[in-house]
């Protein structure tokens, strides 16, 4: 037995940096072998997808970038996927943030979706560009829709060949950005969006923007998607959904996902994306319906995720086998094994 124990002892006392190294190898190597394992979609994510899919340019969606860079790997693919879906369906998107850091993330998401060097992205036109443009004898309607604006704009401008479509700032999206005490801001937006955000992130007055003219208060917004790495999602639930009935969907990190399923079952939210898997499911559906030409980062990450999970399970099993085989469970513990 003593001999036996020493083997286990050695195993347990080995430098944990070896395990770190193993982990590093396991998440790096699979990137070089594309497996593309299929991902099945679940009701939780389909709930959001189908909801957004039923909207069009007269509706509106509000996306909350309520996370920090720390959880970006999980959250960014979610917000990009929903935003892509909205852009493709021409649904206007209001962008807010519970934390100031959300602003930068929102800008980055827009930049990614409108990257001119990537095929299948959108071509962005900044607010000042199209708003102050000379349209000849046609005046620009103050509540101009996406389609109307495209008609006017395409007289003088050509859409990039590999682009999915136009995106006009102020018509298709606006970054309202961060405001402190966001729950109060949510309540205030139920009365009027302009009162809470007189200007957007770049200082453009929101009251002149067609999408704000068409959706003056958050009551007229058809879906709020809060993408978060914290319990900020509950603010949306309490202060937007329960206060003036805005339908809400959650995009949360895996760490929080299991806690918030209760709100799906209670019918308070229309759907939930949990972690990288949730984002990957959304990407799969976008590709299926032709809203994107290939799945994004989340889907590609899921292969690696598979392998890493196998490693963790093996480590747990081996560790426990060693623990009991080595007789550690009997040694020197006076407290009864608690919970």
């Amino acid at each position: 037995m003593a001999e036996n124990n020493s083997i286990w002892d050695k195993l347990f006392n080995m430098d944990r940096r070896w395990i770190f190294l193993l982990m590093a190898v396991v998440v790096i190597i699979p990137f070089f072998f594309k497996m593309g394992l299929p991902i099945n979609t679940t009701d939780e994510v389909e709930g959001i997808y189908n909801y957004v899919d039923s909207l069009e340019q007269n509706d509106a969606v509000m996306i909350g970038f309520d996370y920090q860079p720390g959880t970006m790997a999980e959250n960014q693919p979610m917000s990009e996927a929903v935003m892509r879906h909205c852009f493709a369906r021409k649904v206007p998107v209001f962008i807010t943030a519970v934390l100031p850091l959300g602003n930068g993330l929102a800008e980055e998401a827009i930049a990614n979706l409108t990257d001119p060097d990537e095929p299948g992205t959108f071509q962005r036109v900044r607010y000042r560009e199209w708003h102050s443009y000379d349209y000849g004898q046609d005046s620009l309607p103050s509540r101009v829709t996406h389609d109307q604006l495209v008609n006017l704009w395409e007289r003088d401008h050509q859409l990039r060949e590999d682009a999915m479509g136009w995106v006009f700032e102020g018509v298709d999206y606006v970054i309202l950005g961060y405001a402190p005490l966001f729950h109060i801001v949510l309540l205030g937006m139920g009365r009027s969006i302009v009162s809470q955000y007189p200007a957007d992130l770049y200082g453009n007055p929101t009251e002149n923007m067609p999408m704000v003219k068409r959706n003056k208060s958050a009551r007229e917004v058809d879906l709020g998607v809060t993408v978060a790495g914290s319990s900020a999602v509950l603010w949306w639930l309490t202060y937007a959904h329960e206060s003036y009935g805005m339908p809400i969907a959650f995009g949360v990190t895996a760490v929080m996902a299991t806690d918030y399923l209760v709100y799906l079952q209670s019918g308070q939210i229309v759907g939930q994306m949990g972690g990288l898997r949730g984002a990957a499911e959304y990407e799969v559906m976008l590709k299926r319906d032709g809203y994107s030409i290939e799945e994004g980062k989340a889907f590609r990450g899921m292969d690696v995720q598979s392998i890493a999970h196998i490693l963790i399970v093996i480590l747990i099993v081996v560790g426990n086998v060693a623990y009991f085989a080595g007789g550690y469970h009997r040694k020197g513990r006076r407290l009864r094994a608690g919970r």
Partner: protein
């Protein structure tokens, strides 16, 4: 050009943080302190540019809405926090913000976190078309919520058929729920690592597409 410099900088800082896995070291400490400064600095800039400037500074000093002066004075009281003799004045803005926020929260929390949750547990056990696992599922939702609540009930000892058995079932349900959290947490942490590796391999080293 700047993007290239940026990517190298980002790669440097990523590796600096990972160097902690080997050992705590000055490079790691450097990165950690840089981020403390930058993140609060960022916060400062955005609060000014997006809140104070459009909602206070511009209306007050440019448009001359003098009604905002008391608001500004109240806000400025926060500064007194740093002067021991008058620091009690900083309680005033806190009290205004805090008190109303608490009152605002009370009925709304009652609705969304308590009443709605209780309502959602009032579900039928069987409806036509339910498969056996659906029926079992409904029963488990109802019984699980009930027994887990019993476990956290402190006014009766865990004895007898209701409180004794109930709390025992309850703790098992809680353990299964924690198991799910555990699994998802592991998943989340790995996803974050994958995100960083994706950055290093794609944007920095261009090893994969």
């Amino acid at each position: 050009m700047y993007e290239q410099i940026g990517i190298w900088l980002a790669a440097f800082f990523t590796l600096a943080i990972y160097s902690f896995l080997y050992k705590e070291n000055p490079v790691y400490r450097f990165a950690e302190h840089v981020v403390v400064g930058i993140s609060l600095g960022y916060f400062m800039v955005y609060t000014y540019n997006n809140v104070l400037e459009p909602r206070l500074v511009r209306p007050l000093f440019v448009e001359g809405q003098l009604g905002l002066i008391p608001i500004m004075l109240l806000g400025l009281l926060y500064i007194t926090r740093f002067f021991r003799s008058v620091s009690w004045l900083s309680r005033y803005p806190i009290a205004v913000v805090f008190g109303m926020a608490m009152g605002l929260s009370f009925p709304r929390t009652m609705l969304s976190m308590v009443l709605r949750q209780a309502e959602a547990t009032v579900i039928p056990i069987y409806r036509t078309g339910y498969a056996w696992h659906d029926v079992l599922g409904s029963v488990i939702i109802i019984v699980g919520t009930l027994t887990a609540l019993i476990y956290f009930f402190f006014s009766k000892p865990h004895k007898g058929w209701f409180f004794g058995t109930g709390s025992k079932i309850g703790i098992w349900i809680i353990m299964i729920a924690f198991g799910a959290t555990f699994g998802f947490t592991v998943m989340g942490r790995i996803s974050l690592l994958i995100g960083r590796v994706q950055f290093l391999l794609t944007d920095w080293l261009h090893l994969i597409e």
